[in-house]
């Protein structure tokens, strides 16, 4: 029968993950998004590397999509004290908590580590008159209605435009931000000359930048990035530093030793060659940070996000 053969072929495929020296740490990783998205890919990459390297086994990934990850976050709260559960999260969730007025926030979860991220770029069509970020800022100040395309309202792209507006001296309440639901529509709007500029993660524009169809004016990284021939926003006098980072947290109320075990597992993951290879092929920037440094970072990021979202009028 057909169903059977395909099911068999698939289960054979699924079990190709090589067995390694298993330890007694078994983990469940929640991806608070649908399969295929950034958090899901991160979770599954963690699963593969941890199992292959024998850091933990078995590692199970499950999806709890919805509301920018806040549905998954609420579920994490229900598993208070579970030392074998992790959740992938990131800047988008920090923002969604604010914009959705979520009942749960990140103040009580147990931060484990920040793993990867991607910097944002501001691009214009190749035929655009703007050659530098300064040109764009000058034109923007003269005409607040200049259209910027990016992802949905309140997301990382929108935040970056808000930060850029502030740095350029443009009223954040008057800026003309055109949100798209993703799926490459931002790219299409810029390529089709329908907006003045577009904002997205570097990866989304990379091919077009290299092909010369788009001009990247600035990247939101603190310093120049290897292999990315785009000047930083900072180097052009705009003090903007924003990474669309992804990290890992555990449920509230786990014990100190449980937290230490999880942090150690992430440290091991980060140190492994398999993880370095994964970062390289996927073009993910290594933004590793664990333990108390990540605790502090998470708090600061929550404050900063709230401030930006207030400036652009999304949060009262």
């Amino acid at each position: 029968m057909n169903v059977k053969t395909a099911a068999l072929a698939l289960s054979a495929l699924l079990s190709t993950a090589a067995p390694a020296a298993a330890q007694n740490l078994n983990l469940r990783v929640m991806a608070p998004a649908s399969p295929g998205g950034g958090w899901d890919q991160t979770s599954r990459a963690i699963q593969t590397v941890m199992q292959d390297e024998g850091i933990a086994k078995p590692v199970q990934v499950f999806n709890v999509p919805g509301a920018g990850g806040t549905i998954g976050l609420a579920q994490l709260y229900n598993s208070k004290g579970d030392g074998n559960l992790l959740m992938t999260m990131g800047l988008v969730m920090v923002g969604a908590i604010q914009t959705n007025s979520s009942k749960v926030d990140l103040s009580r979860v147990t931060p484990i580590a920040r793993l990867t991220g991607e910097y944002e770029v501001i691009v214009v069509p190749a035929s655009s008159p703007y050659k530098t970020l300064g040109d764009l800022a000058t034109a923007w100040k003269a005409n607040n209605a200049l259209a910027f395309a990016g992802g949905s309202a309140g997301g990382t792209d929108h935040m970056l435009v808000g930060l850029f507006a502030k740095a350029a001296g443009v009223d954040t309440k008057k800026m003309n931000y055109v949100p798209f639901s993703g799926g490459g529509e931002t790219l299409a709007a810029v390529l089709g000359n329908q907006v003045a500029a577009g904002v997205a993660g570097y990866g989304e524009f990379e091919a077009q930048i290299k092909a010369g169809k788009l001009r990247a004016l600035g990247i939101s990284a603190p310093r120049a990035q290897a292999g990315i021939p785009v000047p930083t926003m900072k180097s052009q006098g705009f003090n903007v530093d924003l990474a669309n980072w992804r990290g890992i947290v555990a449920p509230p109320g786990i014990s100190g030793s449980q937290k230490a075990t999880l942090v150690a597992a992430m440290d091991k993951l980060h140190a492994s060659k398999a993880w370095k290879d994964t970062l390289k092929t996927r073009n993910w920037t290594d933004l590793y940070m664990s333990g108390s440094k990540f605790d502090v970072f998470l708090k600061l990021e929550a404050v900063r996000t709230r401030e930006i979202l207030k400036d652009i009028g999304l949060v009262k």
Binding site: A7, M175, Y177, G313, L314
Partner: protein, 175 residues
């Protein structure tokens, strides 16, 4: 399109005398939906600077619903009534028996409630059984057996084959 002996009623023209109370309730229901939508629309905050705000389309939809509901109410008051759809497996002359759909709905909600505590297999087997029963199958052991097998096969194919996570419940550790 429904019953060949009764032509569909054009709007505004009553084909049969007498007021149909269920039809009137449906028409008033549409009006009520429109009104509730309108109230809800006026509570949407404006958000970021935008040319067309978040209220414009809800406003169009709610006013449209109110208008259409009013038209339908007028139609019904003038004697219009709906003809139930004719499906291949239905008997247009039979008296509708609401106990069967109620049974299916009850079974479905019970199954949904059991899905997480007792597991996917038990939950969907309950649903399968009630639908089969409501459709007139009275050989209970056979139906229960088929229900369990269908649920189990579905569970295995989806979890093993596609790697989906479905609640295991009682089967936790067994499969």
């Amino acid at each position: 399109m429904s019953d060949p002996t009764l032509p569909p009623i054009p709007p505004g023209a009553g084909a049969r005398p007498g007021l149909s109370v269920p039809d009137l309730l449906v028409a008033l229901g549409v009006v009520l939906l429109g009104a509730l939508l309108l109230i809800g629309t006026l509570q949407i905050p404006f958000g970021i600077n935008a040319v067309v705000g978040p209220r414009v389309f809800p406003l169009i939809v709610s006013v449209g619903t109110l208008l259409l509901g009013t038209l339908l109410t007028v139609n019904v008051l003038r004697g219009g009534r709906a003809e139930p759809a004719a499906e291949e497996d239905t008997d247009p002359d039979a008296r509708p028996d609401l106990r069967q759909p109620a049974l299916i709905l009850g079974g479905f909600l019970l199954g949904a409630a059991l899905l997480q505590p007792l597991g996917f297999v038990i939950g969907t087997a309950v649903m399968y059984f009630t639908v089969g029963f409501a459709f007139g199958e009275r050989r209970a052991p056979l139906l229960a057996g088929v229900a369990l097998i269908v649920a189990l096969v579905t569970y295995v194919v989806f979890t093993r084959g596609l790697g989906l996570t479905l609640p295991a419940g009682l089967l936790n550790g067994v499969l």
